[in-house]
């Protein structure tokens, strides 16, 4: 990680939509959050034109100190950009280069080069060469290629050499080439590539446009030559990346590491079949009340332990970045930030100064932060508590000298097996060898925690929350598991094995089909279009959502802006963040849920009274109405954003019409404060999470434009069972007929107002037909699930689904409903 700022990029286009799409594509190719790509396009979102004043503004925004490369479309864009330079002060103007590259090709190459740390001349030179690859493919003579760096003969002679065969089906196309270039640029080595199959090369591996000219197709033999300090390292990593087909950052896309997996029984991450192997439980971390030495000494010991863990996490992060891509690696940035968190360190310091020993002070500080996350109503954010604990435990182990006891391959055999454990930390998941691990079965954990997400990204099927009895399965037992039906069969019969293998094959084909059609609309077999959106809680989610073909952001968990900080984000910061999301989503509609917090003071700057039962207390909209300052600012930011991009606002945890009316008054005040009137296309909806709201949907209907059902909370409140509580989790089944009946009531009462489902049920492909049959017209799911859910919508016949839904309402339990839809005959 270089501390140097990156070169910024400005896209100037006559068309807002064109620039939006191009920028989204560039972000996908170079998903580095530090990369600034600003756009100045269109006179507004629909009128073609360019505006020199806006271009100069975009240049100012894009500059992080390393200068800016401006990429333009046609004629007047160039004139306007030229004029824009006059509006800049001289110091900045000297750091700006106008680049003659074709817009789309140039932008992508520029983005990748800038993300790799290239200076502005390199970025512009690379972009100018962007047409070279296309010319090679079309067998046109290459124009003069401006080589950003020359290759001398001596560089080729000495140093390390290796070869690899291109395994990517589409060859070394843009995405894998970009991965390779970024790797090369991050290391201190001069690397060249030669296509030994065609004889093209050598070309510098640090230049995306040149690497593309290799014309490396699937099966071609590529020779890598490297010189310099890290020559061996770069060669090893390139060969390893090639074997993993140059992982793309998004696990949903096409480079899952199938080749590195055993070819049988694990064709798709849905199914796992193999012998079990239990991971040993790490020894309990006992924080003894050892008498403290002097406080300075304790603090020193603690900071050393924290530094040691920082180094460890950094190396895990690097591994994750190489193997799983930058997108997944950012999970560990959060870990690093926690280790560096001034609030935590101050708290621990205070405890040490008050006489506590380092280990107990650290444990106390971690417990405070963990409880804040655990108090959040949203399960996705709540799951971060597990990360906090994992990082906290790492430091404790370092402090207590039990560091060596972490579970590193305690398995007796090296044969591929299904791992069984109580839980795994994110770092442990990254450390797993995909060739050795067929699947993972965990007693604890939730589907939204980071370990589960990382396992999915690695392509390892994972079943979690299976209960402690799985820990008693003897090692070496043959088991079969299905992550979709959540079945775990011990000692399966030959028939069951055959059926699981067939499911694996079918699932694999289905996923491939879904992926190729992800960008198309989801239309049922009888012609009904269902919006399939994505749930977002970060900018990365938005980028992933755009990649996986989401029609909109059906739920934005705005809490992510408010957590982990000492003061609320102001209106400007929020509006900027929302616009960034919209931009990452290519201008698709954002459904912004207002702040949904509650419980035990998750926000230090907005204290709430202690409550014995936060789930039935002041949370969601209730809290916002009780302390309207935060929501007033948030609504203003939302209204402002809505003037620039399509936006809906969504109020969480509504129980009474009176609450909604108060919320609408606050919204009216925000519109008045903004002063520009009601934004075009702005719509207002409420979450249906409380049974009372579902039962009164008809009373709410006149005052909303849409409903969004949060099935997670609706299930918990309807069945009075908390899903995180293992003892009652089985009761909290969203397919319970009581919940289905409530969804049905909402759909009826809504009339022509659309009803969406944004809970986990929406991402359950087995429930798609049921939800459409009930009258749900929009589904919002985790970004990765969008292709699958779109495909499952396409298999639905809405008339047949209605008949089945009627039977589901009258079923006697969740299992009966499941049978109805898994085997509808």
């Amino acid at each position: 990680m270089s501390p140097q700022p990156l070169v910024g990029i400005v896209v100037v286009s006559h068309s807002w939509a064109l620039a939006q799409a191009a920028v989204a594509l560039a972000h996908e190719m170079a998903p580095d959050p530090r990369l600034r790509v600003s756009m100045a396009a269109g006179l507004d979102t629909t009128t073609f034109g360019t505006d020199a004043a806006r271009i100069s503004q975009a240049i100012i925004e894009a500059d992080a100190g390393a200068g800016v490369v401006v990429i333009m479309d046609l004629g007047s864009a160039v004139l306007a950009a030229d004029l824009a330079l006059e509006f800049l002060d001289e110091e900045l103007r000297n750091r700006v280069l106008l680049c003659a590259a074709p817009m789309v090709e140039g932008l992508i190459v520029a983005a990748v080069t800038a993300a790799g740390g290239g200076d502005r001349r390199e970025v512009a030179a690379e972009a100018n060469n962007a047409l070279a690859a296309k010319r090679v493919q079309l067998n046109l003579p290459s124009p003069e290629v401006v080589a950003p760096e020359s290759i001398s003969a001596s560089q080729q002679d000495a140093g390390a050499v290796a070869t690899f065969i291109v395994e990517n089906r589409q060859g070394l196309h843009l995405r894998p080439a970009a991965q390779l270039v970024q790797l090369v640029r991050s290391l201190d080595a001069n690397v060249t590539l030669i296509n030994r199959t065609t004889g093209v090369g050598p070309v510098p591996a640090s230049s995306l446009s040149r690497v593309e000219t290799l014309g490396a197709l699937a099966g071609h033999l590529i020779e890598v030559n490297a010189t310099g300090l890290e020559a061996d390292k770069v060669i090893a990593q390139i060969v390893s990346m090639a074997a993993h087909r140059f992982h793309a950052p998004n696990a949903t896309t096409d480079q899952r590491p199938k080749a590195a997996r055993p070819p049988t029984d694990s064709v798709e991450r849905r199914i796992g079949i193999g012998p079990t192997q239990r991971l040993t439980v790490p020894s309990e971390l006992v924080v003894a009340g050892t008498p403290t030495q002097d406080a300075e000494q304790e603090w020193l010991v603690l900071t050393q332990a924290v530094s040691a863990v920082q180094i460890k996490v950094q190396s895990v992060r690097e591994q994750a970045a190489v193997e799983l891509g930058e997108h997944q690696a950012t999970i560990f940035d959060a870990h690093l930030m926690l280790l560096d968190d001034p609030a935590l360190l101050d708290d621990v310091r205070d405890r040490i100064n008050a006489g506590e020993p380092a280990a107990s002070a650290w444990a106390g500080g971690i417990a405070t932060i963990r409880s804040r996350f655990e108090a959040l109503p949203d399960p996705y954010l709540r799951a971060r508590a597990a990360d906090v604990q994992a990082v906290g435990d790492d430091v404790l182990r370092a402090l207590l000298g039990t560091d060596s006891e972490t579970r590193q391959d305690t398995r007796s055999s090296t044969a591929a097996s299904i791992l069984i454990a109580a839980d795994l930390t994110p770092a442990e998941v990254v450390g797993l060898d995909v060739a050795q691990v067929i699947a993972i079965v965990l007693a604890d954990g939730s589907p939204t925690d980071h370990s589960a997400i990382l396992a999915r990204a690695k392509g390892i099927p994972l079943l979690n929350g299976m209960g402690s009895h799985v820990l008693t399965i003897p090692d070496g037992t043959l088991v079969a598991l299905d992550t979709v039906t959540r079945e775990l069969v011990v000692d399966p019969s030959a028939t069951i094995l055959e059926s699981f293998r067939n499911r694996a094959l079918t699932a694999n084909q289905a996923y491939e089909t879904a992926r190729t059609r992800s960008a198309a609309a989801a239309i049922t077999s009888d012609g009904l279009q269902i919006q399939v959106g994505a749930n977002l809680a970060s900018l990365d989610d938005a980028l992933a959502a755009a990649t996986s073909g989401a029609d909109e952001a059906g739920l934005v968990r705005t809490e992510f802006l408010f957590l982990d900080r000492s003061a609320a984000p102001d209106v400007d910061e929020q509006a900027r963040a929302y616009l960034e999301l919209a931009s990452a989503m290519g201008g698709r509609r954002l459904t912004l849920r207002t702040l949904d917090v509650g419980g035990d003071k998750p926000l230090g700057y907005a204290p709430t009274p202690a409550e014995t039962n936060p789930f039935l207390g002041l949370r969601g909209l209730r809290l916002s109405l009780a302390q309207p300052e935060l929501i007033a600012d948030q609504l203003l930011a939302i209204v402002r954003t809505a003037h620039d991009t399509p936006v809906s606002v969504l109020f969480p945890m509504v129980s009474t019409v009176n609450e909604l009316m108060q919320a609408r008054q606050l919204l009216d005040s925000a519109i008045a404060r903004d002063g520009r009137g009601l934004p075009q296309g702005f719509t207002v909806g409420i979450m249906i999470e409380v049974p009372a709201a579902a039962l009164k949907a008809a009373a709410f209907a006149p005052y909303v434009d849409f409903f969004s059902i949060g099935t997670n909370d609706l299930t918990q409140y309807t069945l009075a069972a908390q899903r995180g509580n293992r003892a009652v989790a089985a009761i909290a089944d969203p397919l319970d007929p009581s919940v289905i009946r409530l969804i049905d009531m909402v759909c009826h009462a809504a009339g022509d107002k659309p009803v969406a489902v944004c809970g986990e049920l929406a991402a359950d492909a087995a429930a798609t037909s049921l939800l459409v049959g009930l009258g749900v017209r929009a589904l919002s799911v985790v970004p990765n699930a969008v292709p699958t859910i779109k495909q499952s919508v396409r298999a639905v016949n809405s008339i047949r689904a209605r008949e089945l839904a009627d039977r589901a309402i009258d079923a006697d339990g969740a299992d009966a409903v499941r049978t109805l839809f898994v085997d509808p005959n």
């Binding site: 006179l43 073609f48 034109g49 360019t50 505006d51 020199a52 004043a53 004139l79 030229d82």
Partner: protein, 235 residues
């Protein structure tokens, strides 16, 4: 450029060869240009649809109506520009942000260069006005790099500026000189019909651009004609 300081620092005793425009007449010029653009909007777009992308009339009308709106709004707040610099700058910046097509940066640069050349003055002599106009023309050259005969706005503005300079040097007053400049602009505009375009989107047409009058040269001729009307009005 000297002209500004010499005029403002020693107004007394300075020999004014021929009276030039003051702020009020500059304001009338801008508004008159907006009016004729409005009137000729359809014609300009029609010309542009033959050899360009059929938006010159729409773009110029959008830009100039935004200019008038902004002048009116400033007047309503009693914040009308108090110098030629401020007035031309405001016009230029508005055009840059509202015209959209290539005319935005070109006319924008024209007015911004005139702003700088005018300086903080409330009135200028005829020769000063001619110099200011030349500065605007130089801006267009710098921005668009046109040459005479490329079938652009430059083909009417260049002869206009040349005629203005020559007429003033021959001792004509501003009205007479501007009338000559306007006639030269019109002649230059008419000459574009037989030219082949070498700039902008019309150049994609190659020889097929011959036989059509250039919309940019047409709007530029309207700008010069608007000055004749505006500066001639009493008051």
């Amino acid at each position: 450029m000297g002209l500004t300081s010499s005029y403002t620092s020693s107004p007394v005793g300075r020999l004014i060869v021929s009276a030039g425009p003051d702020l009020a007449s500059l304001d009338r010029w801008i508004r008159e240009f907006a009016r004729v653009i409005e009137v000729h909007q359809g014609f300009l777009t029609e010309l542009d649809s033959a050899i360009g992308d059929a938006d010159h009339g729409t773009n110029m009308r959008r830009g100039m109506s935004a200019v008038v709106t902004s002048l009116d709004a400033a007047a309503a707040r009693s914040e009308s520009p108090e110098t030629a610099l401020a007035m031309f700058k405001s016009v230029g910046m508005t055009l840059v942000s509202t015209v959209g097509g290539a005319s935005g940066p070109l006319y924008g640069t024209f007015f911004l260069r005139m702003a700088t050349a005018s300086g903080d003055v409330v009135a200028m002599s005829a020769t000063e006005f001619a110099t200011v106009l030349q500065a605007g023309l130089a801006g267009i050259v710098q921005r668009g790099k046109p040459e005479a005969g490329d079938k652009t706005m430059y083909d009417s503005l260049l002869p206009a500026c040349t005629a203005l300079d020559a007429s003033l040097a021959a001792g004509l007053d501003l009205d007479q000189a501007l009338t000559a400049a306007s006639a030269a602009a019109d002649a230059g505009r008419d000459a574009t019909t037989s030219m082949q375009a070498h700039k902008g989107r019309a150049s994609y047409l190659g020889e097929r651009s011959i036989g059509h009058q250039d919309p940019g040269a047409t709007s530029a001729a309207l700008l010069v004609a608007a000055a004749v009307t505006a500066f001639r009005q009493p008051e």
